[in-house]
């Protein structure tokens, strides 16, 4: 299977395929390869230290980027441009609460979130960005401060791999921890199902935005959470609180969908007000959409 997957890198972005890979680093690499394979056919430049182009120096350009070798040979000043040339840091906040353990198919929300986190980390490391990680539920369970040292990626991937669904969710805890240890500007990717009030999310994100951080929220939801299909009444038990409630198929087909859509829309608006990007991700979808959005986000903020 691995041979076939490797032969078609784009195929590697499917969650089911990634789930078959035993090593998270392999998952991240396969996903990134699949992503970059697709990018060659896309209008995007991509992000790396590879040379992109020369252009004539114009007033206002940073003289540090003048290619002095060219100037020596031609006595003309050219600016040498690289893809992904700006170094920054990326901190991934991964929600490992109990609700993230929900799954209606082969891949749970937490698994999908781990793939996404690992891929983001791998992608950032490939661009020589410093990568940090906070895994949380009601408390911060893992914390890796951003670093671009060799071996840090493995440490982060290992931490992500160990993450298990825990208890409840408290968004204020990881954001508070992040503010305590992070001073410079950078990127913050929050991966969660965001079963919280939009105001609670704003309270955590807004201080980061004021701090100069660029925040992207990946809301990971299962298809059964977005468009549940019940054939008969069911007694649903909250995975975090243990509360049970008997619901009818009619309600889940109509009113529930309206409510979850309203919630997502509220989160999106709240994120926009806080200066953050909001990306809804379904565990049924391949990773590339999320990664493309991240790259767009990275390019825009870089």
């Amino acid at each position: 299977m691995n041979d076939r997957a490797a032969a078609n890198p784009q195929h590697l972005l499917a969650p089911e395929v990634l789930a078959s890979l035993s090593n998270l680093e392999l998952v991240a690499r396969a996903a990134v390869n699949g992503l970059l394979h697709g990018l060659h056919r896309s209008p995007l430049f991509g992000f790396s230290l590879e040379f992109a182009e020369y252009r004539a120096y114009s007033e206002g350009d940073d003289p540090r980027f003048i290619d002095w070798n060219v100037y020596a040979r031609t006595e003309r000043t050219y600016i040498k441009r690289y893809l992904g040339e700006t170094n920054t840091h990326l901190v991934i906040l991964l929600d490992a609460s109990a609700s993230m353990g929900f799954s209606s198919g082969k891949v749970s929300k937490l698994q999908y979130a781990k793939y996404l986190a690992a891929t983001l980390a791998y992608l950032a490391a490939r661009q020589h960005d410093a990568v940090g990680l906070i895994i949380f539920d009601e408390e911060v369970r893992e914390h890796r401060r951003p670093s671009s040292r060799i071996g840090r990626l493995h440490s982060i991937l290992h931490a992500i791999d160990r993450a298990e669904a825990g208890t409840g969710t408290n968004l204020s805890v990881p954001f508070e921890r992040f503010r305590q240890y992070q001073s410079g500007r950078g990127l913050v990717a929050v991966i969660s199902d965001f079963y919280c009030e939009p105001e609670a999310m704003i309270n955590g994100v807004q201080p980061l935005a004021y701090q100069g951080q660029d925040v992207i929220l990946f809301q990971v939801l299962d298809p059964q959470e977005l468009e549940p299909e019940l054939k008969e009444s069911a007694l649903l038990e909250d995975m975090e609180t243990g509360e049970s409630m008997e619901v009818s198929p009619i309600f889940m087909r109509s009113r529930y969908r309206e409510r979850i859509a309203e919630h997502i829309e509220s989160l999106r608006k709240a994120a926009a007000r806080a200066g953050a990007d909001h990306e809804l991700v379904s565990t049924r979808d391949p990773l590339d959409a999320a990664l493309r959005n991240y790259l767009t986000f990275r390019q825009r903020r870089g």
């Binding site: 609700s99 009444s233 007694l235 038990e237 995975m239 009818s248 009619i250």
Partner: protein, 666 residues
């Protein structure tokens, strides 16, 4: 323990309902994990019939509620400890005491009590005994028991009353008592064997169930008695006639004393022959207004004092004046009415004739009642005056004759005129009386009314408050009793002048007018005498409500019960006093004079009675017959208390289950 209403136990079948309900289950027995319930809301669970019962604890309590409810309705009771188990050879000894008035004679009652004591002593141990008192009714004084002490206690407290005993009714009561008894019954009747107590038909003395009848005579040969048999009062002559009779008595000289309102006012010596009857008359009494108490008694009395006296209520006759309104005071209608009313012998009546115009200055309240010869002669002002008079309690007799024809409504009452029926001239076509309410006091004893011929009459429409006393053959009302507030109006829908009918010239006209006059004057509704054992209510003396006091002055009917339709049973002799509406009325209650006759049953008749009863047949030996010693102690209050407790627990458990099913953290 027993159940007083065991049929209610069928209610236990209702436990099927909770059992069925507890097999109902929601369709989602298995829980499913879900990320968050923050966007969910509980839906109505769809129910299916589960194979197994669920929520067994709750079910148990619900079944308990229903069972206890049915049990409480079945009225469980604890029986008192059985006094004893009756032996196989036991019999029921029914001791019956004659408590009629004649048992008050001399030493009859002490003798009867001694006889009863002897019977109790002679009853074999192991036999049951029951004590009954018979007079006007039969009363069970002591239920079947083995204990003689209770019987003796009741016997000592028993005394004869004023009633009359009929042996036929006595044997009927014995039948009813002995019918449900599984033991052989031996009847011990202690009586004075009065001939007058024998029933009309000798066969009534036969018991319908096998029993042994022992009759004990409490009388002694040669006992004599005088008694006041009757007292009658004639208002017209103001005379009181008294009849005194002796039974088995020698010639005697006695005084007959008249006591008026508690004072001895007159006395007459009587020479009574052996077994003879003598009458006496008293007149010239100085009677007070309203009802007077008159007591007649013999002096000296005899061994049976209770019949040596008799009570009567006497009212002073007040001459009454009747106003007759007529257009022609010398006309035929006035003549017929005046003649009829002045012929009445019961009460002196003066008829004052007047035209409506001439009567405008008269005080109508001074008249016993008012008669109008023809309603058509009344003006509106006259009608209004008469209406006020009637509304205040007056009586009005009004004929609807020739002059009424053409009016739209009857004056005073406002009845709608439907027209005048013309059947033919005198001697031609006519109609007669169809139906008559003979129960009405004004029409009592009048039965020749159907002889009258009616050629014309006025048709009016009765109102619901009317009482139609007489109807013609075609159903049209002829005589209507119409209530108008406190008073009443009698409407006669034909004429009184012989033009429309021949009633005024028939003999029945006088008693009819007399009855109507007494009814309108309010004299018929007053009862002054009642028999012992009857009931009395304030309505019997013309009062809507009131208090009744017995001859001893005790309140027999209090204010609280007044007007509620309650009646008083007359069990004492003397004067019952009824107070109400500012009036005091009296009702005299006397002993049945037949009890004065102390003659004994002929010996051969007594022997036939003894032999008449079915011999005591072989009655199945009593097996395990228990005698209940005491009234059952009701247990339902305790069951009800337990039921309330179970309901509380059931509610709590039910609520707990509901919380679980609704997803509320328990």
């Amino acid at each position: 323990m027993t159940l007083l209403a065991p049929l209610f136990l069928l209610g236990v079948l209702a436990v099927g309902l909770p059992m069925w309900l507890h097999r109902l289950s929601s369709e989602n027995p298995n829980k499913q994990k879900f990320s968050s319930v923050m966007f969910l809301e509980p839906g109505e669970p769809r129910r299916v019939l589960a194979k197994r019962l669920q929520y067994l604890l709750l079910l148990a309590f619900r079944i308990g509620v229903l069972v206890l409810l049915a049990f409480a309705f079945a009225r469980p009771a604890l029986l008192g400890a059985p006094e004893a188990i009756v032996e196989d050879s036991a019999r029921l000894n029914l001791i019956i005491m004659d408590t009629s008035a004649s048992m008050r004679h001399g030493q009859r009652w002490p003798r009867a009590r001694d006889i009863a004591e002897g019977i109790i002593d002679d009853v074999p141990s192991g036999d049951l005994m029951q004590l009954l008192a018979v007079g006007r009714t039969a009363r069970v004084l002591v239920d079947p028991t083995l204990e003689a002490s209770g019987l003796r206690q009741s016997l000592n407290a028993l005394n004869p009353d004023y009633s009359h005993l009929d042996y036929g009714e006595l044997m009927n009561a014995v039948d009813l008592t002995a019918r449900g008894v599984e033991l052989p019954v031996v009847v011990h009747l202690v009586t004075d064997l009065q001939q007058s107590s024998m029933p009309t038909r000798f066969a009534e003395l036969a018991a319908q169930v096998p029993l042994e009848l022992n009759i004990y005579d409490a009388a002694r040969p040669g006992e004599s008695n005088w008694g006041v048999q009757s007292v009658s009062w004639t208002p017209a002559t103001q005379q009181i006639a008294v009849s005194v009779r002796g039974y088995g008595t020698p010639p005697a000289e006695k005084d007959l004393v008249l006591e008026l309102n508690g004072e001895r006012v007159a006395q007459q010596p009587l020479s009574i022959t052996a077994d003879g009857t003598v009458t006496a008359e008293f007149g010239g009494l100085d009677l007070g207004e309203g009802a007077n108490r008159v007591r007649m008694y013999l002096d000296p009395g005899d061994a049976l004092a209770v019949d040596d006296q008799r009570f009567v209520v006497v009212k002073r006759p007040e001459p009454r004046t009747v106003l007759l309104l007529t257009q022609d005071p010398t006309g035929r209608d006035a003549l017929f009415l005046t003649a009829a009313m002045e012929t009445m012998t019961a009460q002196a009546t003066t008829v004052e004739r007047s035209t409506p115009a001439a009567s405008s200055d008269l005080d109508l309240r001074a008249y016993a009642f008012i008669a109008v010869a023809d309603a058509g002669i009344l003006s509106d002002a006259d009608a209004e005056r008469l209406r006020e008079y009637v509304a205040a309690g007056g009586g009005l007799l009004m004929a609807l004759g020739q002059r009424s024809a053409g009016s739209s409504a009857v004056p005073v009452t406002g009845h709608a005129f439907l027209g005048t029926a013309q059947l033919g001239a005198t001697g031609g076509a006519f109609t007669t009386v169809g139906t008559m309410d003979s129960s009405h006091p004004a029409l009592a004893g009048i039965d020749e009314l159907r002889a009258a011929k009616f050629y014309r009459y006025t048709e009016i429409q009765p109102v619901p408050a009317d009482q139609v006393l007489v109807q013609l053959e075609r159903g049209q009302p002829l005589l209507i009793d119409h209530r108008l507030e406190q008073g009443r109006v009698i409407l006669f829908t034909s004429s009184l002048d012989r033009q429309w009918n021949d009633l005024p010239v028939l003999p029945v006209f006088v008693p009819l007018v007399s009855g109507l006059a007494s009814h309108l004057a309010g004299e018929l509704s007053v009862q002054t005498e009642a028999r012992l054992g009857a009931t009395l209510s304030p309505r019997a003396v013309g009062l809507a409500s009131g208090q009744i006091f017995d001859p001893q002055g005790n309140a027999a009917l209090g204010i609280a019960a007044a007007g509620l339709g309650d009646e008083v049973l007359l069990e004492s002799i003397g004067f019952y006093e009824i107070l109400g509406s500012g009036r005091t009325e009296l009702v005299a209650v006397n002993m049945d004079p037949i009890e004065s006759d102390l003659r004994l049953i002929e010996p051969n008749a007594l022997e036939r009675w003894r032999n008449l009863n079915v011999p005591l047949a072989e009655v199945a030996a009593a097996e395990n017959v228990t005698v209940e010693g005491a009234e059952p102690t009701p247990l339902w209050p305790w069951v009800l208390g337990l039921l309330i407790a179970v309901v509380f627990v059931e509610s709590w458990i039910g609520n707990w289950h509901l919380r679980v099913r609704r997803g509320i953290a328990a």
